[in-house]
Amino acid sequence: MSEARHTAPLSVAVGAIGAIRSAIFPAVAIIFSGIGGSGRFLIGIGVGVASIVIGTLVSYIGWRRLTYTIGAQDIRVESGILSRSARSVPYERIQDVSLEAKLLPRLLGLAAVKFETGAGGGEDLSLQYLTAAEGERLRRLVRARRDEERAADSVSDEPGSAPEDADEGEVLFRLGPRRLLTFGLFEFSLAVFAVLGGILQYVDSLTNFEVWDFDLWRDLVETQGVDLVALDARLKVLGAVTGLFGLVLIGFGTGIVRTFARDWGFTLTRGPRGFRRLRGLFTRTDVVMPAHRVQALVIGTGLLRYRFGWHSLSFVSLAQDAGSASHVVAPFARMDEVAAIATSAGFHLPDARTHWQRASRRYLADRIIRDSAILLLAAIPAAIFAPPGVVLIPIGLAVLAAGVNLYSWEFRRHAVDDSQIFSSHGLLSPTSQTATRLKLHSVEIAQGPLARWRGYATVHLGLAGGEFAIRGVPLAEARALRAKVLATIAATDFSRLDQSAGQTLSDAQSGFSANFAAT
């Protein structure tokens, strides 16, 4: 068990294919550019072959030199071609093991195994690539080790759960193809044009073919025997309509394709180890999030999908998920599905009994004045210099800004109950956050000069893995809020947050009700 092992030999093949992929562009570039005159074809091929050979060799030596050891207390990885580095991660520091299989490794039956330690800045331990079976075995092993350690100093939390079927939990949420299609329609995107433009620019710089040259295209059309002047206006309108229709079609198409690629087979299950999320068509990811590490919930929605009753749910946790701090656990769901997942994570959503507090009316007034004033200032030069009528544009926008602010004020509210704190805000559709009072780390009341004059404040709550700020709270209310939250936080030490959440929660609640009685 404790001897040094190599990663899967097929990793070298992945590295080699990667080298081929990265060799193609420079080779093609040399062939099409002017370097080397007539011999440039050979030079291009030579450079390509050389970079493939070097890339493959580097990946082979890297594979030879990388070993990992599953020790009694830790996992050690030694690597490096010229300089050696050794990293050791003790089992109790490994928060979880996630498997990620991009398209190519997946075809070869490989997966990247990442040991999440909660260390910031991507300093996690990762092994590329192991066979999928070995990855799964490692994940079970790490969990078993960690549970042994936990069992040694406290009571075992899940008696009778065999480690073999530990992952086979209850399915909480699944995205079927039909739901995925609806989701894709809401993900309308014209990003493809930016990508196309980039590619054209690239082609442009490699060849002498001027993509943006209008004369060239006209010549091309006219040599086909079409006289542009002869095309009458009706045909032009038809062309514009067709173009617009095409644009809309491409936008929906992009949205659907991207959604299918990212969220194909989206499944969220809840097992004794926590939440497990599987998703992806080409890059299949398998992430496990222990329930006790969920710090807060974020429920988002979109301008349009909100009107159709669709919401998304993310967990804020310490582990990073592809660059963003929160894990999407339900990208496109009905509110009752969101509520079920939230309950499973130990949260409850605001209900009819939730006592919502609105933001200060002065805050609303100040925002309207601020946003409109900028636009009205822009109206002054427009009135003087621009042709008459143009001045109506900034004035109209100012009125619109005021309207949007008035409308979005509906969403700006917060509430505190026995164990949780809720906050919602948004421009035309609400984004709401829910955090456990117990899992907050500090409370700050911040005021700018304007806020001090007008008597409101921003309450910043220290949340691990995310931000939680409530803006425009009247000062007295902000202080009351801080007192309540602090009473809960101070009652429990950080080191006891994870182990006995249930017990401390009731402690905190009794503390709270004492507090409540005192006020």
Binding site: Q447, G462, R479, R482, L486, A490, F494, A518
Partner: protein, 172 residues
């Protein structure tokens, strides 16, 4: 809900809006010296520009160096005193409150139970004036580190020990 009194575990009432403890008076001096050091390059640059413009007789004498000197004097004399007055802290049985900011006020409370680790730092200037900066680190993204500058050297160490003792007691 207009009483801001919350019970702490020790049973003593904690008033989060109570009187603030002021920092060590030397903090003002340290701030002044720091501002002077910051202002010197600007003053030198202003004098150089002044000399150049005098040669070419472009501007009346003192048009550049005068305003720069006035701003520097204001920054050195007025701002450190105001900043000193704006800052303060309040230490209770289980939490530390730090208040700062002249225009942008910020009033932060960190419960000792959420402190990850504690730093006490002294730069050369701070060492000369016998003061220190204490920094509390928390796991939250916002206020990941809350620093309290301008504490007396002894006081900063005592406070650190006190907070550390509290953390140890809690995690037993």
């Amino acid at each position: 809900m207009d009483q801001m009194i919350a019970p702490s575990p020790s049973g003593l009432p904690v008033d989060d809006e109570g009187e603030l403890t002021r920092l060590h008076p030397n903090y003002t001096h340290a701030l002044r010296v720091r501002t002077v050091l910051f202002a010197i390059p600007f003053l030198v640059a202003a004098l150089v520009l002044e000399a150049i413009s005098r040669d070419k007789a472009l501007l009346p004498p003192g048009a550049i160096a005068g305003p720069v000197l006035l701003i520097a004097l204001a920054l050195v004399i007025r701002v450190p005193a105001r900043r000193y007055n704006a800052r303060g802290y309040q230490i209770a049985a289980d939490r530390l409150r730090v208040v700062r900011g002249i225009l942008w006020r910020s009033d932060t409370v960190v419960p000792f139970g959420r402190v990850q680790h504690i730093d006490v730092d002294q730069g050369p200037l701070e060492r000369f004036f016998g003061i220190a900066t204490m920094t509390l680190h928390t796991a939250g993204n916002h206020n990941a580190s809350v620093s309290l500058p301008g504490l007396g050297e002894e006081l900063a160490r005592d406070m650190r020990e006190e907070i550390r003792a509290h953390i140890r007691r809690e995690s037993m």
